[in-house]
Each structure stands twice: as structure tokens, then as C-alpha cells.
């Protein structure tokens, strides 16, 4: 039986699928944050080997296609004898991908602070933890917030690739709907609009934060 798809059907299906895009983005971002925090801490240590290990980690995830990472997560976990769903594979790959970028952004924000800040803490008799949480992090947050929000846009766009390993989110719903309606402009136009509505406010917010916090730095 051939069913006809009204514009409302297309829109409704895309909206339903967009929820999964949002959920996957949130999962990746929260998971990425949880993985990134200990890595940033490890990079602050004075030992050499964590630096090299984490440099390798970030280079690996930043220097290879996200699509390959998704494939490796999908087939790699299956290799361990665990039945892996597209959702699990996509969450795993996007979490690691996100963490590799967040480590760089946050470590960079901390390193951007003058060395004198650490030395001043030492002089005041603060230990490492006190220096980090009372003095360094509050300042580093102001530097790191704009690029972090900007990177959230990359994560949302990155979730579109989960469609390729068969996870039905906004892009996959678009390809399915295009196959039944043969209206690529309408369908992919709406898909693009969906992403735009999620990403553009974040982009603008990131630019706003950049201006707000940078005004204090540049004279």
C-alpha cells in the first residue's frame, strides 16, 4: 500500500527524530565532560608521561574522521562479544570525540593564565587543590566558556554522522523521508533548518561570551 505523506507528516516525523539528536548531543557533551575533567587534571601534573599519553589521545581523535571513530566503536565493541546498538556505539564514539576537544580547550584556558597566578597561590601558602579551585579555575572558566559553547555546536553537527551507523536521528529520518517522498529540497531543507535552530543560538551566545570576556583582556 502506498501512503501519501503530507507536509505535516514530514514535519512531525522530523520533530520526533530531532529529540534523539538533542539526546545524543547531551549524552556526548555530558559524557565528554566527565572524561575530560580527569584528563585535564592529569595534564596539570608535573610528570611527563601523562602529557604524552593525553597528547596522543587528543591527536588520535582530532586527527581522524569522526565517521571512522563511529565505525570503530560500532565494530570494536562487537568484537569484545558485546552486542552493541547504534545508540551505544554513537554515544561512546561521540563521548570520546567530545572529550578529546574539551581537554584541549580547558587545558588551554588554564595555561592561558599568567604563571604568576600559581606562584602567588604558593606564596599565600595554598596547596595545589586550593590554588586550582579557588584561584585558577574561576578565572580559567571565563576564558574557556566561549570556546566550549562554540564546540557544543560541533558536537550537535557531529551527531548527524550517527545516521550512517543506522541510528535514527534527524538526518537519518531525513534520508528515510526523502526516500518515500522524493522531495529532497523540502525534506533536507527542513532537516537543515532543524540543525540551524539548535546551533545558531549557541553560536551567537558563544560570540557574545567571547566579546564579553575578551573585552577585559584586550586593550
Amino acid at each position: 500500500m502506498m501512503t501519501t505523506f503530507t507536509d505535516w507528516d514530514i514535519l512531525r516525523n522530523l520533530l520526533l527524530a530531532a529529540r534523539w539528536t538533542v539526546l545524543l548531543s547531551l549524552t556526548a557533551f555530558i559524557g565528554g565532560t566527565l572524561v575530560a575533567i580527569p584528563l585535564v587534571m592529569a595534564r596539570l601534573s608535573k610528570r611527563v608521561w601523562p602529557h604524552w599519553l593525553i597528547r596522543g589521545y587528543t591527536e588520535l581523535f582530532q586527527g581522524t574522521p569522526l565517521l571512522m571513530q563511529l565505525f570503530l566503536a560500532f565494530f570494536g565493541v562487537a568484537l569484545l562479544g558485546i552486542d552493541v546498538s547504534p545508540w551505544t556505539a554513537a554515544s561512546l564514539a561521540l563521548t570520546l570525540y567530545t572529550s578529546a576537544f574539551l581537554v584541549d580547550i580547558w587545558h588551554g584556558s588554564i595555561r592561558a593564565l599568567p604563571k604568576g597566578q600559581w606562584e602567588a597561590c604558593r606564596c599565600l601558602g595554598l596547596d595545589f587543590g586550593q590554588s586550582l579551585f579557588r584561584v585558577i579555575l574561576p578565572q580559567a572558566l571565563r576564558i574557556g566558556i566561549a570556546p566550549t559553547v562554540g564546540f557544543a555546536v560541533q558536537v550537535i553537527k557531529g551527531t548527524a554522522l550517527a545516521s550512517i551507523i543506522g541510528f535514527v536521528e534527524l538526518t537519518k529520518a531525513g534520508t528515510i523521508l526523502n526516500n518515500v517522498t522524493y522531495e529532497p529540497f523540502k525534506v533536507f531543507g527542513l532537516v537543515a533548518l532543524g540543525y540551524f535552530l539548535m546551533c545558531y543560538p549557541l553560536s551567537r551566545y558563544s560570540q557574545y561570551l567571547e566579546k564579553k570576556f575578551n573585552a577585559a583582556h584586550h586593550h
Partner: protein, 220 residues
């Protein structure tokens, strides 16, 4: 845990190398064209506000806030509806060009913005036209300043090109998918391919940064 079998992939190395070569060609063309598009866009966006510069701004925001794969599908499935027939390779290149054009517009514009206003004025006082001032006075130091960011963006476009395998363009990822379907050695194939991309991105960065030092002199 299953045993990994890399030796069974050995007969397929010509396919992987052929795929890699297509990826390199695509990247080369997209980089040259995309950066040219970016310079044009940055010039437009830095000049007097006009309808064209506004439209270019809309183009930049549309591209930067939607996924590359959706842009690709829009071109591949949409354009034939308008009667424009493109091969998979042409569509892939077009999508990459449009994508990099938008990003490099913003990157280059940022470099132009921090170039002191006096540079423009000096060029004009010396009797250069607006275009001459832009090309000969303002553009070179601006490009030098943002060159590392531009290199990173070109590498992101190269990595993003793995997606064009989805519209049957026979580049590196397409070759990997093909070998995967023949051998069922999924993890091994994708691991090897991933390492090839990693090597390519490292080589590309070193090469472009070395070229930058040659063109612009040592980075400050």
C-alpha cells in the same frame, strides 16, 4: 575475544591506496577553491555593507550551523531535481568547496579585522585603489596571522571528506567499506583506514605549516 587478522587485508592495499589518492585530490581542490572563496568572501564582508555582503553573511551562518552531511545530501539529492546532473565526485567537491568557503570567510575576516585601520589609510594615501590596498597591503599580514587556524580548517575538511563515501564517491572510506563488505574484517579495515587518515592529517599539517613559513617567513 576474537582474533584480529590484519594479514588478510594485504591483497587489498591497491584499493586503499587508490582511495587515499582520491581523498588527497579532493582535499587539494577543495582547499584551493575554498580558500579562494574565503578570500573573496572576507573582502566582501570587510568592505562597505551591501546586499551582496549581507547575503554572503547568511551563507556563512547557514553553512556553519548545519552538518556537512546534510549539506552534501541537499546537493546530491536536490540538484538533480533542478535538472543539474552532477557525478558523485563533482557533488562531493562542490559540497566541500561551499563548506570550506564559509569557514575560511570567517577565519580570514577575523585576520583582516585586527589589521590596523592605518594600513588601509596608508595604502589609499599612496594612491593605491581599494582593491590594490586590499590585495597588496591588508591581505598578506592578515593571512599570515590566521594561517594556523586556516590550516586546521583545511584538515577538518579533509577529515570530513570521509562522509562523501555515503554518496558513492570512491575515496578512502568508500574503499574501506568495500573491503569490509568483502572480507567482513570490519574492525581491522577501519583501524587501518583510520591510521591512514591520521598519517594524512599529520603530513598535511606539517607540509602546510612548512609552506606557510616559506610564504610568510617565520611565525612571530
Amino acid at each position: 575475544m576474537a582474533q584480529l587478522n590484519f594479514s588478510a587485508l594485504w591483497p587489498y592495499w591497491p584499493e586503499l591506496l587508490a582511495g587515499l589518492w582520491v581523498t588527497i585530490q579532493l582535499t587539494l581542490m577543495a582547499t584551493v577553491g575554498g580558500v579562494a572563496l574565503g578570500i573573496l568572501g572576507a573582502a566582501l564582508r570587510s568592505g562597505r555593507p551591501s546586499i551582496l555582503s549581507r547575503l554572503w553573511g547568511v551563507y556563512v551562518e547557514l553553512i556553519r550551523n548545519t552538518p556537512f552531511v546534510v549539506q552534501l545530501f541537499f546537493i546530491v539529492f536536490g540538484l538533480p531535481n533542478l535538472g543539474v546532473k552532477l557525478t558523485a565526485g563533482e557533488a562531493a567537491l562542490l559540497a566541500m568547496l561551499i563548506n570550506l568557503g564559509a569557514y575560511s570567510t570567517e577565519i580570514i575576516r577575523a585576520g583582516i579585522q585586527v589589521t590596523p585601520r592605518g594600513q588601509w589609510e596608508a595604502g589609499r594615501v599612496l594612491g593605491l585603489s581599494r582593491t590594490q590596498t586590499f590585495v597588496q597591503v591588508v591581505l598578506p599580514p592578515s593571512l599570515k596571522r590566521i594561517y594556523p587556524a586556516l590550516v586546521s580548517q583545511c584538515i577538518i575538511v579533509m577529515l570530513g571528506s570521509s562522509v562523501v563515501s555515503q554518496v558513492s564517491h570512491e575515496e578512502l572510506t568508500f574503499a574501506a567499506n568495500l573491503i569490509q563488505s568483502r572480507t567482513f574484517l570490519s574492525f581491522e579495515v577501519y583501524l587501518v583506514t583510520t591510521l591512514m587518515y591520521l598519517a594524512l592529517s599529520i603530513a598535511m599539517r606539517q607540509l602546510l605549516l612548512a609552506a606557510g613559513r616559506k610564504w610568510f617567513g617565520e611565525q612571530p
